[in-house]
Symmetry: C2
Subunit: 593 residues, 2 copies
């Protein structure tokens, strides 16, 4: 056995038999292993001198690392496993079994944690899937509706657990061993292993996450073999990788975590939340403003609040770049829902109840701003060009915050990113206004904060005219979510639940293009924009801030195309660091397997 | 003067003076002329031997021809011209002046023809603009909101008529000459000349249209000089052009007109209307069907009706190709509006009125099928892949109709076009099902009708993967409306009224990309798809069926890229024929000026 493993330089499954006292080796193949074992084995082989550290890095994957970062069930001897299905979407979820989506929603609204149990799901189950902690089905594989939608939501899912017999009318399921689970009984489902437990299994935090958080020192003797192995692999991946890794983060707390996880900047700081909560009133004032004075007052009220938001983020990211995206969603998202408001007013009128005059004014505004296709409407840079002072408010808040942080002795590195640009002319206008405000704030504060101005590339037209757009942009950041939506002509919210499962069954795509970048189609737009953008401006800084920035296969593609960085959610930063390292070692054409 | 005109071979404005009995020529320039004069002068110059017929064709434009095809006011001596503004959107409109958009909508709903009069319009006026026969504003130029939106709607508009003083509160306007028009007073506006008349001016049909309709014989002595000139120019343009011209038509009547106007086929026969009217019930049955039998019954009920539709169209287009687009819009468009139905049921519930059970079932279906962004949802080929039997019904109706028409001794030439394809796999599946049905119908009827199968190229991903898609497509037809919408990431319904005027003012585009193809961005996608589609399949037949197929500048672009045909509305067919001829003579890089 040692001979074989030494020859193949890996852990091997070896089949043997002993016949009449003679040992026969029957066959051998690379041994299967858990994610944790993969890391431990790889580094042990290094210690044994069988492989070098680069090969160890090549032998583990970002997907394995991601698995190690989910909380795990601490399933001791008492844990009662009642079934096993497919590990469709990772994580550990505990809740009361519910067999109907409306009921799931109702119970969740009452603050109860529920697991939605169905034979299979369909688009009608969407509300229940949103409400549940996790989803368990008895039918369907990894491309079933439940699996596809759960992964899209980042929700734990076990599917195709054929050992359970779901009785929807009786609101219960029976496991092969005879265990019966009725509505309200607590179950625990493990989306990483596919195991279903009866009752509540305690959840244990991931030690790998604790290591990234800095709570475990990988160099101390107390560190586990797993943590030590992960540490060694990550160190080497960081040394080798060319692609930088940033995080998508909107708050100081997330930014700090991203930094602990190794992020080298913020690649996408959304600003929508800076208009929400108690500030929603100011947005309403802005929309309903009659005349410049009222509009200006609403904007002025927001300025100090948003400045403080940015101070927090720039402070957390001292010395590292922070790409701030100016407001993107249509303003009516900050107003009440058309159908609800129309219905509420109609009911009041029908029953003779007085209707608040403000509600009528609001309804008129909601009707006026209603859009057939909000994703393709008045949003992004269009808002900035149509609503006087809106982008100016944000730019001033950024500039003043940066000046304040710099005056406090830190090193803020803001980058202002204009969303949804389709034509260079849009960007030129915003850039010129932005430069004027930056100059004003510099004069007012005496602080000189170098600030880049760039744009998202998320509209197909921007990709095919990138050579022009680069004339006005110091950086590009691919918004691959929107680029996928507009490139394919489908909106994720509408299509993932409606027909993605069918498309995967039919083989139209092998994996959802929202999970892993569609390299042939959307990827071609990324290639065109990168090549032509750099032709115009050789030092153009290019990254990606869609969710694909944290997907292993996509990362290899971005490395191959020659982007400067990927940006992903803080929890995916280690995955991206590892895959960026693997991509650098494997060279062009590598993938994440 | 003859010397000058002979030298320049054109009609010239010549300024002269006589001083002390001596004639001084001061300056000269190409003389301005009306659209009709342009045609007459061009052919007269041919008759005088100053230019040849090709140059005559080059000297007139499709825009001029289009102007000649609108009905004109027969403004005799009695017609009282009270103002003149800019000719923002052509046509002749008569109606009662109204100064408020809600009031315009109200009056129009009562069956009255109205002209909306405003100082300038804004997005709040959309309902009034839709309701009105025409729009008159006292401010703003050809890129003003009123002008842009009216052109988008194909509605007559005179803008920037500064001679009138609009008093919105007083619901009247005063013309410079003192004429006062109050709400309800009839006015006539000429969008071709910009002239505003008091009272109702009789409208005269276009003699050029009557010529194309075959009601005037251009070779008879009775024909006017204009008709003779148009005839000569069109004959030459037809001889020279390489680009074929088809029409977009959904009915036998429109198809017959298109044929009279010179269409060489139908490039886009939409099939949505074949599910409307009394047939809407079957669509509702299809959506609410429980089980295969109910769904199949709904589809079977539609089959004979749709077959008859196609028989009519194939008969009208005997011997010419008819490209039928399978159903494209989302099915919820055939159901009631979510907000209205929700509100109606809520009101009934609140007032204790009984709610029809069917309405509840319908509301549940409407809610289930509601989409955030219907343009980016379950439509086109996706419907065909998700709803069993839907495309099959349509293909069978087409095939049976073609067999029936062929059996009657005619020559039907159907082409089946799959909408919204983004990936070759989608098309392959539909193609295989279609081929099976065509074979079945051939076996059943004994009629062999050659039928092409192809696809729209309207999703950006389809354009950049056209090399693959051409493996499964016998033809491409660019749906440049959707390609513009998805390429730019904006939906026409939402953005034209909301911010296009602002974008034109800011110079972000010089002309709406829905009026004239955005050659740099969307046009690049057209180029890529054409080149790479032909690389895969050299005999790939390629056309365009978006509205750009009737736009002069766009036609020159399509000619240059090497498309086989353009398809446009029947009324634009002569314009397209003319511009296609001009493009062929001018060669590459020509434009429509």
């Amino acid at each position: 056995m040692a001979t074989l493993e030494n020859h193949y330089r890996d852990l091997f499954d070896i089949e043997f038999t002993i016949e009449r006292n003679k040992l026969w080796m029957l066959q051998t193949r690379v041994g299967k292993r858990t994610a944790g074992a993969a890391f431990r084995i790889a580094t042990q082989l290094v210690d044994q001198g069988l492989i070098d550290i680069d090969e160890a890095v090549a032998r583990v994957t970002g997907d394995q690392l991601a698995q190690l970062m989910f909380p795990r069930f601490d399933a001791g001897e008492d844990a009662k496993q009642i079934a096993k299905g497919m590990n469709a979407s990772p994580g550990a979820a505990v809740g009361k079994a519910v067999f109907d989506s409306d009921r799931a929603e109702e119970m969740a609204n009452n603050g109860e944690a529920v697991i939605l149990v169905r034979r299979e799901t369909n688009p009608d189950d969407l509300n229940g899937m949103i409400a549940a902690q996790g989803i368990l089905t008895s039918r369907g594989g990894k491309t079933s509706h439940a699996a596809v939608v759960a992964r899209g939501m980042g929700k734990t899912c076990v599917c195709g657990a054929e050992e359970i017999d779901v009785d929807l009318k009786g609101r219960k399921f029976t496991a092969r061993g005879g265990a019966v689970v009725e509505e309200g009984d607590v179950i625990s489902i493990d989306g990483t292993s596919g195991v279903v437990y009866l009752g509540e299994v305690p959840v244990q935090p991931s030690e790998v996450v604790e290591y990234f958080e800095g709570k475990i020192d990988a160099t101390s003797d107390n560190a586990s073999d797993l943590v030590k192995a992960v540490h060694r692999v990550m160190e080497r991946a960081d040394e080798k990788r060319i692609l930088r890794v940033r995080a998508n983060s909107d708050t100081p707390e997330d930014s700090e975590r991203a930094r602990r996880f190794g992020a080298e900047g913020i690649g996408l700081c959304r600003t929508e939340h800076m208009f929400l909560g108690e500030r929603r009133q100011f947005v309403e004032d802005l929309i309903l403003a009659e005349g410049d004075a009222e509009r200006e007052a609403a904007l002025q009220a927001l300025l100090p609040l948003q400045r403080e938001d940015f101070v927090g983020i720039f402070t957390a990211m001292d010395g590292l770049p922070v790409t701030v995206r100016l407001i993107d969603p249509p303003l009516h998202e900050f107003l009440p829902d058309l159908t609800e408001l129309t219905s509420a007013i109609a009911v009041k009128e029908a029953t003779g109840e007085p209707v608040d005059e403000h509600d009528r004014v609001l309804l008129a505004a909601v009707q006026r701003m209603h859009e057939q296709n909000p994703m393709l409407g008045l949003r992004g840079v269009r808002l900035g060009l149509v609503i006087p002072g809106l982008f100016d408010l944000q730019v001033r808040a950024i500039a003043e915050a940066a000046a304040q942080v710099k005056a406090a002795g830190l090193n803020p590195r803001p980058e202002i990113m204009v969303p949804l640009v389709g034509a260079v002319q849009e960007l030129e206008i915003v850039r010129d206004e932005t430069l004027a405000i930056l100059a004003d704030v510099k004069a007012e504060t005496g602080q000189d904060v170098p600030t880049l101005i760039g744009t998202m590339i998320e509209v197909p037209r921007a990709a095919v005219t990138a050579g022009q757009i680069a004339e006005a942009a110091e950086f590009f950041s691919f918004g691959t979510n929107d680029l996928t939506q507009m490139g394919w002509g489908f909106s994720r919210d509408d299509v993932e639940a409606a027909f993605f499962s069918r498309y995967l069954e039919l083989g139209i795509f092998g994996v959802s293009p929202f999970e892993s970048l569609d390299q042939e189609g959307v990827g071609r737009l990324v290639r065109i924009a990168t090549e032509e953008g750099r032709k115009t401006r050789p030092d153009l800084h290019i990254g990606v801030c869609g969710e694909h920035g944290g997907d292993p296969d996509s990362i290899h593609f971005f490395a191959e195309v020659g982007l400067d960085y990927v940006s992903c959610s803080p929890f995916r930063v280690p995955v991206a660091r590892l895959e960026a390292g693997r991509a650098a070692m494997a060279g062009v054409g590598s993938d994440s397997r």
